[in-house]
Subunit: 599 residues, 2 copies
């Protein structure tokens, strides 16, 4: 079907939409691919729907190729299964919840682990039925606090989500690797640069997890990579833990007056005055900074957590959030924020600016200690034997030479500091550099969390019931369209890779003579008959200039201009990406364009 | 891709699901096409998704063929546009409503008139842009009071909805006829018997409207048809209005004692005693029955309405509901029920069992009269000059010879009586018969209702702003799958028409010899290479009996049995619909099956 611009439901815009921040959003709206219906909620126009369909087809082919089978779940789901796994609560405000006319609770599904688990439980009962890989391409809903960047972070969006079901861990690893390989193929076919990075599992639960990031400055995710090939989401970066230090001969700690030193900067200055070290002045790295955070638990409870870290580092809240679940003995995501004055007032032993580990010299313990009511977690660099300048839990006082393990205890370590460029990669592959990316896919080894909660068991080889182990795998489909637009555009508009372009060829007639339109129509029909997709700008009263800018804006790979040259038997073929123009004989152009399209 | 039953995500059931009432629901679940996720909400399994995809493809082709362009709207929509047209309220409990984290109101769209109107307003501005036909195939949501019959009446379901935009009424008529013709083609290609019937517009608003009904006893809609070709939804049937009668010489009415006659039956008996007519005894048709109803208005108000009708008829609440809007000066659907004792107590002049038009003989008006607080509507048969026996608004009294127009006034006529088989078709094409059907499609001439409410205007030929006129057109896509199953099954299972079957051929191996499986695999591969879709039952340890019943249950058009005959060089080809079995030489069977599939 030739798309004629005289009738195509399209209106290109010369101005960027006011709410658009990123190029993909601006251009997809301006070129008539999408329109905003509500914050984070978009309508697909004919051109956009074509691109979306091609992205979906590629994903579908690669999923089918690994033996995954397509199903389709509802978006509107009952509360009960999500209640059973705890996610009804854990998702917090990110979940769209509603009630039906009878007052029964429903949700708009953000992801479908529960339903797939129950479906497999309904259909299957034996290890012989496994492995099963199932997927769907379907609408997902998340009530994002800040929907942004058009399709990049929407509230209604399309995901391909798959789930694997295996009898044992080896099977899960195989399923995981099959999906990993399929994802790499999918993104390669889409022409989207992708870096798989280690990730944390977040609210999904489970163990092993990787994100497929598309590196771009407009990405929301910060990740790190080393020249040696290490790559991880910052949440997942691990610190090389220094060796413990023998503290047998370490001098005892001393409390000193350090008036007016509530910050690391003032403390370091003061320390070099009250306890100068020759040739080796105190720096921020010698201090132990203790930051008190408040965790908003899924239950609604507000719980304080103290984080101890070297004073030359700052806390990265997202990293703490990603790694704190196991310490709180709770599933799901925990939101953290700095403790308020009110929070601190409830713990009068904490003196703001002078907080430190409990010194334990008094019968009344002041400050932070392991297993106290305030969870006290430290950066992995705080190993046994390290010696610190830190708060003495008294106004205007710090303690010098406080030695980890000998002088204070903690509730464990946590990855909590901002990762800096230059930090070593955990696998020894060199210093890290930081970059930004868009999360295009995410794969998880869920393990038995969902199967256990929903009682998905099958009979094993010995006739015994065994809990199934699961993986879950997602690709952001609408987000892929945005990422493709983001990475394929220039100042004039979109520049689609041929695999996903809404058409192969964009025919432009310049001039008014009927012969031009007849020639163009003939070329269009011949291409269409050969299966080459054509946009034909047949608008009679539109200037050549407007037609050219529309063609550049829409971004089909090959633009063909039928104009003055036709009298000499040639048309102009322009490559949208390179700008190269070639005159081609009109009786050869169809064969040429077919060759280009099928290349 | 050959679907092998050893790995296909499928489990057939021998028992009907407990909640299933109709054959399509039972068989689609038993044969592994769908599963229930919540009341009226279904999951599509691989076989079901294939059928759904084929139905969608046929619809898409026919919509594209009339120049309709596909777009895709969100399902989650903001309240505002629906507020503007009044449908946020009018939909009542049938609408799923929810709030986002900021407390903004959203809905899950039951249909998209508002959004399409706004989109066209956003993109188009001139009559030159019109006509525009747009459509989508998309999830719809309705919070049905009684979801039933599986996919036949769901709460999340797929619809193809299109909308036409024209500058004038002639254009609208053309768009309407184009969609009407496309719908007839779609249902013909699906192999679904369809009868277009006149319908009322309901909550949609607008004027001309037809439903596409699939006649079946399990249908929820009652319709009527005449041998002469008239067909209408009962809500839309019109009564042939008798001519008015000259009442100049009619005798004056008389009030008579009719003790203990609260029903038509007792009244008729009594009338023949107290006022016998020779040779022409009173019958129920001589009485005017006045039924008081309570209308639950969209605003929440409860308003009484009285309906006057010949005593040999009963009120059809659905017909009254469908036709009462214009009398209530309100848009949208009104729910009606019989007035309660409490309702009647508020109007002490209404004496239950003896209610009649106001006789106007008192200074205090007793009973029903036009433009009183109780709206009084009568059946169209109650024309001027007709004379009635009816309640006298006093206990135990009726009035005889009360003449319409001379003795009482009303607020108008309404189609309100139950249509009976034998009633004349309004177009004079003979007596009506009643039947039941499933509404598969519905087309509406909306006119300017939505464009007016949402201010969709374009410049006309004279440069003046003109309101656009619209049509809206729907096909129930998931419902079509159910209707196909309903009309294509036998006692052994589904019997799909080839156009929508999940595959063309179902290969069954009976026996254990490796040669049989090799031969089957070869046939499967050759068919697959030729584009014939194959289900291959390669399960090694399943009995021939189970394989046969699964094949019958799944209902693919051609079943091929590779078994004992292979030694003699033949396989058995069975037609699922007719049961005909033919032995075909194994080296000819592929060509034969390709011919069948492409026929």
């Amino acid at each position: 079907m030739v798309l004629k611009l005289s009738t195509l439901f399209l209106r290109t815009l010369r101005e960027d939409p006011v709410d658009a921040e990123v190029a993909s959003h601006k251009l997809l709206v301006r070129a008539g691919y999408i329109r905003r219906a509500a914050p984070g909620i978009y309508t697909w126009l004919p051109l956009g729907l074509r691109v979306l369909g091609k992205v979906e087809a590629i994903i579908r082919e690669e999923m089918n190729a690994i033996g995954a089978q397509e199903v389709h779940f509802p978006a509107l789901l009952p509360r009960e299964p999500y209640e059973t796994t705890g996610r009804w609560t854990e998702y917090g405000e990110g979940l769209f919840r509603l009630q039906d006319r009878k007052g029964a609770d429903y949700l708009l599904a953000p992801t479908h682990e529960e339903m797939f688990t129950l479906l497999v439980k309904d259909l299957y009962s034996s290890y012989k039925d496994l492995p099963a890989y199932l997927y769907q391409i379907q609408n997902k809903y998340r009530d994002e606090a800040r929907p942004r960047a058009g399709l990049l972070r929407g509230r209604e969006f399309i995901m391909k989500d798959s789930y694997s079901f295996n009898i044992d861990d080896e099977g899960l690893e195989e399923a995981y690797q099959a999906h990993r390989a399929a994802y790499l193929k999918i993104f390669a076919r889409l022409g989207l640069e992708i870096l798989p990075v280690f990730a944390t599992a977040g609210a999904m639960g489970g163990s092993k997890s990787e994100e497929f990031l598309h590196p771009t400055p407009v990405g929301e995710d910060t990740f790190v990579r080393s020249a040696g090939g290490y790559a991880a989401n910052v949440e997942a970066v691990t610190t090389i833990v220094p060796e413990a230090i023998d503290y047998t001969d370490a001098p005892a700690f001393e409390v000193k007056d350090t008036p007016d030193t509530p910050t690391i900067e003032t403390l370091v200055e003061c320390a070099n005055e009250v306890a100068p070290r020759t040739g080796n002045p105190w720096t921020a790295a010698d201090t132990l900074k203790n930051v008190v955070l408040a965790a908003k638990m899924p239950t609604g409870e507000r719980r304080l957590v103290a984080i101890g870290l070297p004073g030359d580092r700052n806390v990265d809240l997202k990293r703490v959030e990603a790694n704190i679940s196991s310490h709180l003995e709770t599933g799901g995501e925990v939101e953290l924020e700095a403790a308020t004055e009110d929070d601190l007032k409830k713990h009068p032993t904490l003196i703001k600016g002078y907080i430190g580990p409990a010194l334990g010299t008094d019968d009344a313990v002041l400050g932070l200690e392991g297993s106290s009511k305030i969870l006290y977690l430290v950066d992995p660099r705080v190993v046994a034997g390290t010696s610190w300048v830190t708060g003495a839990n008294a106004p205007g006082q710090h303690v010098f030479g406080l030695v980890a393990e000998r002088d204070f205890t903690t509730d464990g370590t946590i990855e909590c500091v901002e990762v800096h460029a230059g930090d070593p990669a955990p696998d020894g592959s060199g210093p890290l550099e930081t970059a930004r990316g868009i999360e295009m896919g995410h794969i998880f080894q869920l393990g038995r969390k969902y199967a256990e909660a929903l009682d998905l068991k099958v009979l094993d080889q010995n006739g015994k019931l065994k809990i199934v182990t699961m993986g879950s795998y997602g690709v952001g489909v609408t987000r892929a369209v945005a990422a493709l637009a983001e990475s394929n555009h220039d100042e004039n508009g979109l520049v689609w890779p041929r695999n996903v372009a809404p058409a192969d060829v964009h025919l432009v007639v310049t001039g008014k003579q009927v012969e031009l339109f007849e020639a163009a129509q003939k070329i269009a029909d011949e291409l269409d008959a050969a299966g080459v997709e054509v946009i034909y700008d047949d608008r009679p009263k539109v200037s050549a200039g407007v037609k050219f800018s529309d063609a550049e804006l829409i971004g089909v790979p090959t633009i063909v201009v039928i104009g003055r040259g036709l009298a000499d038997g040639v048309v102009e073929v322009k490559d949208r990406a390179t700008g190269t123009r070639t005159d081609i004989a009109v009786d050869e152009v169809v064969a040429e364009l077919i060759a280009l399209a099928k290349a």
